[in-house]
Symmetry: C2
Subunit: 303 residues, 2 copies
DNA sequence: AAAATCGATAGATTTTAACTATCGTCTGTA
DNA sequence: TACAGACGATAGTTAAAATCTATCGATTTT
């Protein structure tokens, strides 16, 4: 049994067709037929039912092909890793971020990375934290931007920046009169949250528990943009991370800093596997993204 | 790149010696040397540093070998699965159970399984629930005995039995005067718990929260046997699952059933991957273990 | 009935993994 | 200092395998 054979059965399972599968694998159809047959004999299991018109997975075949797929994928990742090792800064970088950070940090990160490592191929993923962690563990991602605390025992990380939360208010709201809002004043507000699984909703609830705010609205939004629309519609108020605050003032939503000790904020870090051989590169990348985010902040303060 | 090559580098990494590695792989030393070199050329990465006396992994090699190991393991599991498919009841069964169940259920389960499937090779694992779930997911285990609720969405399961909790008391304790103890009476007792990570401690705390018992002792034991010793030493009382209650009365610890609606108990189920092709066999096994546990109960009631 | 489709089979060829024998280098010992 | 032993690399050969082209046989479509 070798990797090639596993690629063959994966291809046949995918195409349901020996001829097309053989093209996918760049071999002749008889080669593929022979190898599949040999593998079936070796394993002692019929993987495919060949009717003269259709190719179908047997029940056992389905589970064998699933395992084969995993093995082939893992082998592919091994090759990618090896290729990267020859010149890490010219290889691939698979970077993930969670949904309430991704749309704001990617536009900042990508330009600086492209400038520093022009040959690096950057793949971006937006996923909930839970999925990011799973993908980082099994190698589908090289690095991920996560809010602390995350699983610091499995991963290594470098903190990029501390991101304060801002209060988003409808223009009619009395709190817009203040330049900055003490956190305690949220105790009686209708707080809008994201649906479960978003780390922002957990962070918001944590911050609010400091001051005993509990009037959480039962409706749960699916994205920051939805939250904003709801705030604009006067359904309540919400916390927004700094990077999501527009640089220019808007008419429909007013943003105000929050005052508290400690200040309400989240820490963003770049995470990678402890075992990764590219730590040096990742640390470098972390600093660059951190700087880029810091610059944005400075610009805002100046404007 | 093929699986054999990956086995070679894993063997070299393990033995730190080309000669010994070649014996492990049943090939000649030159063959192994040549293939390793070829793989290194193909990947473009030096995996080993060959000093004339020592073989050492390079930094990159370490991470490549780790990935290779995973791939080789996965391939081995694929072969095992295939072998099992030819005659599931003559193949391997890798069964796990958590620590507060394993020592009591395995002695009941193994004899009936050996009788029903004489050719089956049974591998037993005792692990905390969290590890069982991880191992079940990635194929290191075929089945696991878990307390419900577990991750019912990833797995399929069959409930084996409902296992009531008994109260374990030192002989001097006033509650020993009662034939059966109403759960509410635990509210003022010193309750001894297992350390975190054991599902029994979670179950105990849940049961106790029904009646508002909160006097949990701060010390956390590492096994049921330790708990028993502590109870015997008069440090407090604890809950033990029925299978852990000795069939004959003991002098140092008295066991009493607990009365409540619903009765304090845990459900034990046999779990397997939804995608497993051996569901029929596993269901059969589940019923057999369930029956075996039921018989023990009957014997006890009769004695 | 003829043509087209599709997987299996046959036989030749190329590739490559494997073997044996031997080399070159370093190490420890006499 | 020289010699034996250990170890991985190299050379040359052989055996195994994967692959190719050509073709078959069964089924479906036109």
């Amino acid at each position: 049994m070798n990797l090639r054979d596993l690629e063959y059965i994966v291809a046949v399972a995918k195409t349901q067709h020996f001829g097309k599968a053989s093209q996918l694998c760049n071999v002749s159809q008889p080669t593929l037929s022979a190898q599949v047959k040999k593998l079936e004999d070796y394993l002692g299991v019929k993987i495919f039912e060949r009717d003269n018109k259709n190719v179908m997975l047997t029940e056992y075949g389905r589970s064998i092909v699933a395992k084969a797929q995993e093995i082939v994928d893992a082998a592919e990742r091994l090759k990618d890793t090896a290729r990267n090792m020859q010149a890490p800064e010219q290889g691939q970088l698979k970077l993930g971020a969670f949904p309430t950070l991704a749309p704001f940090i990617f536009p900042l990160a990508v330009p600086v990375l492209r400038q520093s490592f022009p040959k690096m191929q950057i793949f971006l993923t937006e996923e909930k934290t839970e999925n990011l962690i799973a993908q980082l563990k099994d190698g589908r991602l090289d690095t991920a931007l996560l809010a602390l605390p995350a699983e610091e025992d499995v991963f290594e990380y470098e903190i990029l920046f501390e991101e304060p939360f801002y209060l988003a208010l409808p223009p009619s709201h009395p709190l817009t009169q203040m330049e900055a809002v003490p956190l305690q004043m949220l105790a009686e507000e209708d707080l809008l949250l994201l649906e479960d699984g978003h780390c922002l909703s957990g962070q918001t609830m944590e911050v609010c528990s400091w001051v005993g705010a509990q009037k959480f609205n039962t409706f749960r939004a699916t994205s920051i943009e939805t939250l904003r629309q709801m705030v604009a519609a006067g359904l309540g108020v919400t916390l927004v991370p700094e990077l999501a605050v527009p640089r220019q003032e808007q008419n429909d939503i007013i943003y105000r800093p929050l005052i508290n000790t400690p200040p309400p904020s989240r820490s963003i870090g770049l995470f990678w596997r402890k075992t990764s051989p590219f730590k040096t590169l990742y640390r470098d990348i972390a600093r660059q993204i951190g700087t880029a985010a810091g610059n944005r902040k400075t610009q805002k303060t100046l404007s």
